[in-house]
Symmetry: C2
Subunit: 347 residues, 2 copies
């Protein structure tokens, strides 16, 4: 299963120099429609009926089909380069920092001296880049199902894929659920589920989408964590589907006997989405949520980070300073609007 690094060239752009003037449509097996209407890329899904978000396409840089999904990279006029998987925007150069920094530092700054970290998904490398800021970390495993995502990110998003350059990183290409099941119990201090594709796709093809947020998956994650270990995973937007969040929170409370918390932040172009259809919704409103949970053991108070990371200090001088995360925004992320607080506190 393990495979370390990759230098294979990716498929070349279909037409590297030509501006998009015509109309290109793609209809994927996932039953939603993505289209580049004349000069524009639109996300329109039957799952978020009545709403669409469009970015102007300047140039298509790459189009390919992996064993798992359609992969598209285009140059937008205002958000820099954009990565699209099966028609869903995953990442834009302009705003990827918010998502990557928050999903990583919310868990890692909440425990003292994290040493072993696992990233499930996250093939673009952005979460690796953030994990690598923590000098206490000795081992960073990543399990990504789709090698094309890794290769495309290295070619077109070097400031994101820079995460792979850290010598502590070991890349495993394969199914995240299988990887987790094979891990000895209590291995990791922290697991970050950046499920842009591998697990989501795996589950999408094998069963109901909700599985990713149901007890069996959380149970597998829980067993791979040490006592008092932490997990961070995407968890929907409070603006759209509180009933889904309600279920996720209830499931987490049954599995994670340490603490269970919901946090949120804003991401203008929704740089990352789980590919599960119902979760595409989280993209619509520019707000993304995270579940932060810990296993039974040393107590973890996520709202009050014990392991601050200074915005201007980096273990690697080659990396940019933090753009989004700081200790104040960490704590603020757990303050919820009244309508969401009522539901989550009641679980």
């Amino acid at each position: 299963m393990a495979e370390t690094g990759s230098d294979l060239p990716v498929k070349r752009p279909r037409d590297d120099e030509q501006e998009i003037n015509g109309s290109i449509s793609m209809e994927t097996e996932s039953n939603y429609i993505s289209s580049v209407i004349p000069g524009w890329f639109s996300e329109i899904s039957p799952m978020w009926p009545g709403e669409a978000h469009s970015l102007k396409v300047e140039k298509i840089l790459f189009e390919g089909k992996s064993d798992f999904q359609n992969v598209l990279v285009f140059q937008s006029s205002t958000y820099g380069k954009v990565l699209v998987l099966d028609g869903v925007i995953q990442l834009t150069e302009r705003d990827e920092c918010a998502y990557q920094e928050m999903i990583t530092h919310l868990p890692l700054c909440s425990i003292p001296n994290p040493k072993k970290v696992l990233v499930i998904g996250g093939g673009d490398g952005g979460v690796l880049r953030e994990v690598a800021r923590h000098s206490s970390v000795e081992q960073i495993d990543i399990c990504e199902i789709d090698k094309m995502v890794v290769d495309v990110s290295k070619q077109f998003f070097p400031e994101v894929a820079v995460g792979y350059e850290d010598p502590r990183v070991k890349l495993h290409i394969g199914d995240g659920v299988a990887f987790l099941k094979a891990v000895p119990a209590g291995t990791y201090d922290a697991i970050i589920v950046d499920s842009s594709d591998p697990i989501a796709l795996c589950l999408f093809h094998s069963g109901p989408a909700q599985e990713l947020f149901e007890k069996p998956f959380f149970d597998t994650v829980s067993k791979a964590l040490r006592p008092g270990g932490v997990v961070s995973t995407q968890a929907e937007s409070i603006w759209l589907h509180m009933h889904i969040i309600e279920d996720i929170v209830a499931n987490c409370r049954q599995i994670f006997k340490g603490s269970v918390n919901y946090a949120w932040t804003t991401v203008p172009t929704y740089p990352r989405h789980i590919l599960l259809i119902f979760l595409l919704l989280l993209s619509v409103v520019g707000v993304i949520g995270f579940m932060l949970c810990s296993t039974e053991g040393p107590s973890v108070d996520f709202k009050h980070p014990v392991n601050p990371i200074d915005a201007d200090k980096n273990p690697s001088k080659s990396r940019e300073p933090l753009k989004f995360y700081n200790s104040e925004i960490h704590t603020a992320a757990f303050c919820l609007p009244t309508f969401a607080k009522k539901v989550i506190d009641s679980k």
Copy 2:
């Protein structure tokens, strides 16, 4: 200038029962394009090149042209009824609570016993509804330039326009800047600039859009406030134009000698925008910002509210409880991402 209430019937919908099947375009004098493409309403502006947000139109309920702007109300498939002024979404039934509650309670919960409050703009009545929750308030003046907005809101958005039913409210139809200039110095405890239209339009026709956030306007506001009085005004999204916010903050610091703060929150469909072209941008990302400033006098610490409002207690039993605002979210709104904090703290 003063006019209290209004019972005039508004212009009837063009075709109250007919579904939208065709394509309708409007081009306004404000130089941006709004269009209802087949079944969809889109905001596309040359000022946010390369990005568009669309809501599916189920039915157009009202179309009219006031002395100031085009007014459109449509039924959307997922956000309830939507109010559009000159092509810009101002308010949706689904998410208006976040904006209305935050722009109102951030200032009013930061001072003890506010008694006299002025709302500039806010013709829909939502801010009035929120101000009226404060039992200490004795006088609520509102100056709105466009009577059609008031009438349309009363007809189509009764849960928002309910604000007008409070006996403390006095409606003045007229230009907000002129109104402010005529106010005796030191009149108000709080001024809320909900400039969806009146001042914005006024300034748009008389000079550069930026005037609304420049010193002469802030100076007029400052003089109308008592010592230690507070103002709350929209102030752009940190995701798009930090340089504009930078200028606004610098201007505020010169005028408001008490304290000057920037706060932010999320609003999926951007229920309210200033009509100034450059500020349309704030709508794009589902994030909206506010300037919270106080005049010289008793010190105001906006980050630690001294006048909490209980989510479940309302002076009027006819009103819904608060949906978004609470004391935690109040304080959290002032925690900024690192990139924004650096800029704002440097001013």
